[in-house]
Symmetry: C2
Subunit: 201 residues, 2 copies
């Protein structure tokens, strides 16, 4: 049995989009269990001294990153359209993702939210969008959205973000295999290979 | 005939090491002409507002990058030892690289310099090290080192660095195929594929 790959991601993070659309199928094919770890990137960036995404802070690198996203998406056969708002707030869908992390509907729900942001250019911090993403996946979407707004869920997401910081996470997507960190969509395959080669502890 | 891949690099840049050790063989196999473009990263970083390498500016990302370097080098079968000085000044060997860019000895010379920095942890901004790297590759190493110290060569390297800036280059290694930019060792294969797929202009 291989160790799990922890997938630390944010709906507002562009390279998280590329990984999120691919990871469930890739982990499945690799025989590596997948552990979803939604966390908030904003507080981490602020703690590191950024006002916004590093791609907004440095113009040259930011412009390059959008071109890189287009090429990478094409390489993976994924649709992509540069959104009109970046980074897009994602508090509500992130809270729902936290509730769904161990549920069978998690992957499909997350992909639907990501497509709204990175292809359809829609505001995703929005109950209608989240309800639509949950439709057909769960019995009672409204109950989940209500639970997402609870104090308990807010605290859990805050704790998960603090946990990310404790792991030394500084960006997204980040993959952890035990204490081995891999940063960036272009390290997803490496992280899976690491898990495959890793003996149980 | 495929368009050339321009390889913009610095001996002091860690990810440039990984690309430099691989690019000649990979470009050859891909049937893509290789155009060596040594340039100085320091002036570019200063213009972007960094005091040092971005890896030194942000501790978390910097520590991660060293671990990533170890893993990547192992993956490629390349030796690697984290140097005691980073980033290492490389003015003299860079000037020699500028003189050698169109010469048949360029690849082997550059690999020798890189190994001194990234495996043997030696100061490379040093005439003895540069002379040793040129030994057996050129008839008169001392003449080349003398030419590297000329006003003309200094101006040429400054012009090459200004050229990098004009291209919008913000880090190294950077690969250019016509006006298409690829940044980072992990995009080398993509850049070569781009050149292979690219019709002549």
């Amino acid at each position: 049995m291989h160790p799990p790959i922890e997938f630390w991601f944010e709906f507002g993070s562009n390279y998280s989009y590329l990984s999120l659309m691919r990871i469930e199928a890739l982990a499945d094919r690799a025989g590596v269990p997948l552990s979803w770890r939604p966390f908030l990137l904003g507080p981490i960036f602020r703690e590191l001294g950024y006002q916004s995404s590093p791609f907004n802070e440095q113009k040259e690198k930011g412009e390059y990153a959008w071109r890189d996203m287009e090429r990478r998406a094409a390489k993976y056969g994924l649709p992509f359209k540069r959104p009109s708002v970046f980074p897009r707030p994602a508090l509500l869908p992130m809270r729902v993702a936290l509730l769904g992390a161990d549920q069978p509907w998690m992957g499909e729900y997350c992909r639907r939210i990501m497509l709204q942001n990175w292809v359809h250019d829609r505001d995703i911090d929005n109950a209608d969008v989240v309800l639509a993403a949950l439709a057909g996946l769960v019995d009672d979407p409204a109950a989940i959205v209500a639970e997402a707004g609870s104090e308990r869920t807010k605290l859990l997401l805050r704790a998960q973000t603090a946990n990310a910081r404790d792991h030394g996470i500084f960006g997204a997507p980040t993959f952890m295999v035990y204490n081995e960190m891999f940063w960036g969509d272009d390290r997803l395959e490496d992280a899976l290979e690491w898990a495959q080669a890793c003996p149980a502890p």
